[in-house]
Amino acid sequence: MDKSGTDMNKIRSLASEFRKGWTGYLFIAPGYLAFIIFMLAPILFAISLSFYKASFDINARQFVGFQQYTLLLKDSVFKRALINTIGYVFVIVPTTVIISLIVAFLIDPLGGKTQAFFRGAFYIPGVAGGVVLSVVYLWIFNPTYGLLNYLLGQAGMKPVMWLATAPYSFLAVCAVVLTFTIGQPVILFQAGLAGISQDILDAATVDGANALQKVLSIRLPLLRPVLLFVLATQTIQVFQLWEVIYMLTGGGPYNTSTSLVFLIFQTAFINSNYGKASAIGVILMFIIMVVTFIQLRFWRNSDI
């Protein structure tokens, strides 16, 4: 009697589990289907394409094994793009972090409206977008009538062919990207600073800490989780840099400003070399996965 009762309960709980599960599947079904069709399947297809020689007529593709990858290892443009992309990350990400940290500390003590104004001022170039900003930078960087060379001339410096000579085209791209990447970190750091309890800071004041000591030994360490989040998102973002290059330099001169994603764009959508472009994409995907994994480990460790 007692035993059959528990059996009945088990069956009942299993049935209810199934019923609950069933509705769960129903709720995720449309979204998961969209995810499979528009994300998962394309990723898998791109990986498989990287083992093919595939051009405009995709049905005539030929399986070539790892040939795309071995060819890329010998490809000087690809190597250049890889080095440049890493260079962009190493120049832009730290600069973005430092400037946005300074700005966040500067706007933190400001009152509501003034703070909102400055926060907005640093975020607005980002919402305008890289394409729109590039249009005005094309003019600013113009060697003969651009604003930048004029200002440099006033300071006694020689004019520079910003977009047509190395390493200036690389630096020009960095400068443009900087104008629209700092908005997000400023907001994040400022929110992080606002989240630090006033009690801790007051206690430090009582103990005789000055403003600089408070920044270095209390506020910066407490910002660590936000800092790691910013580093991770900015790194991923800069790894995917391309539109400024497309607008300003076309990767030139002599591929000194090209990037991996710009190379993917050229290879896939201008030269219709889908196999090679997919291989570059898979390599980029792999690099980003490794970098994100390393950063996430740091992140987890810092939470303890």
Partner: protein
């Protein structure tokens, strides 16, 4: 004696007050210089749109248009470019993306956040693992799909094609799942006891509670879809299919009629026109932008 001590303290206080005031002034000064530097390109673009071609090429440059002209704007609106069509395209594509992302994210996020079913963990991990992947990887297969389905032969198909890579937003699903997890189960149980159906629980209990998260996600997605340049550039086949960013980029690459050089004033008008929409949008929905950015990163 005591009077003397008090004056000494006042002097020290005055000194520290002066230091504080100077630092505050200095930090204001630094902040204004930084803000000026970062906004200078936008200023240069807006003022440049009111300058004549010879003025835009003059050395030294004019820091403020002394003889403002509307010629560039007239040319932009009455020229060969259907720019209002671009606005319509950009708005439609962005709104379509937002609607699809909200539907997908709220349903799927709720499913993962509040429902227990076999395999939910592994399914969610697969989804999450694609969150940090470079989006460009999927564009090649999706492009082949668009071509095979002839999506760009119709206007509606073009809009759908442009929204395609952003529909299944792992970030959106993750955000809604987190938000759902923070809602107490008691609310759902109470509604069930009151006789609400599964669908009723979702639409009448969860959706209203999810409103702030959905609003932030909507704003984030709108901005992302608006500036999703590479894909729009690849999909748009003719000038009637361009979006604002694509149109602006094409203007900057097209020498104006009869001249061998690009028309700077026209370019600045085009850029300003494109920037104005998103800037107005940002100012109108600023708090949602900030909510969307700080979500998940800052415990608050």
């Amino acid at each position: 004696m005591s009077v003397q001590t008090s004056t000494v303290i006042t002097r020290q206080e005055a000194l520290s007050l002066a230091i504080e005031k100077t630092t505050r002034l200095l930090s204001y000064f630094l902040l204004i210089i930084l803000a000026f530097t970062f906004l200078l390109p936008l200023y240069w673009m807006f003022t440049g749109s009111f300058k004549l071609q010879q003025v835009t090429m003059s050395v030294p440059p004019e820091f403020f248009p002394t003889h403002p002209t509307f010629e560039n704007w007239v040319q932009l609106f009455n020229g060969p470019w259907p720019i209002w069509r671009w606005v319509f395209n950009s708005v439609t594509v962005s709104l379509l993306t937002v609607v699809l992302v909200l539907i997908v994210s709220s349903l799927t996020g709720y499913g993962f956040g509040k429902k227990k079913f076999p395999g939910s963990n592994i399914l969610f991990v697969i989804l999450l693992s694609t969150m940090f992947l470079p989006n460009q990887v999927i564009l090649i297969p999706l492009f082949l799909l668009v071509r095979a389905w002839h999506l760009t032969s119709s206007t509606l198909g073009t809009y759908f094609a442009m929204a395609m890579p952003l529909i299944s937003s792992p970030f959106g699903i993750f955000l809604i799942k987190q938000f759902c997890s923070s809602i107490p189960d008691e609310l759902i149980d109470a509604a069930r006891i009151d006789g609400a159906s599964e669908w009723g629980v979702f639409t009448r209990i969860m959706l209203p509670l999810l409103k702030p998260a959905l609003a932030a996600l909507a704003i984030f997605t709108f901005n992302q879809a608006w500036n999703y340049f590479m894909w729009q550039l690849v999909i748009a086949q003719n000038k009637f299919q361009y979006t604002i960013p694509v149109g602006v980029s094409i203007i900057s690459r097209t020498p104006s009629a009869g001249k061998m050089i690009t028309d700077i004033g026209l370019n600045m008008a085009g850029g300003s026109f494109g920037a104005l929409f998103m800037i107005a949008f940002f100012i109108a929905f600023q708090q949602y932008f900030i909510k969307g950015i700080t979500f998940g990163a800052v415990k608050g």
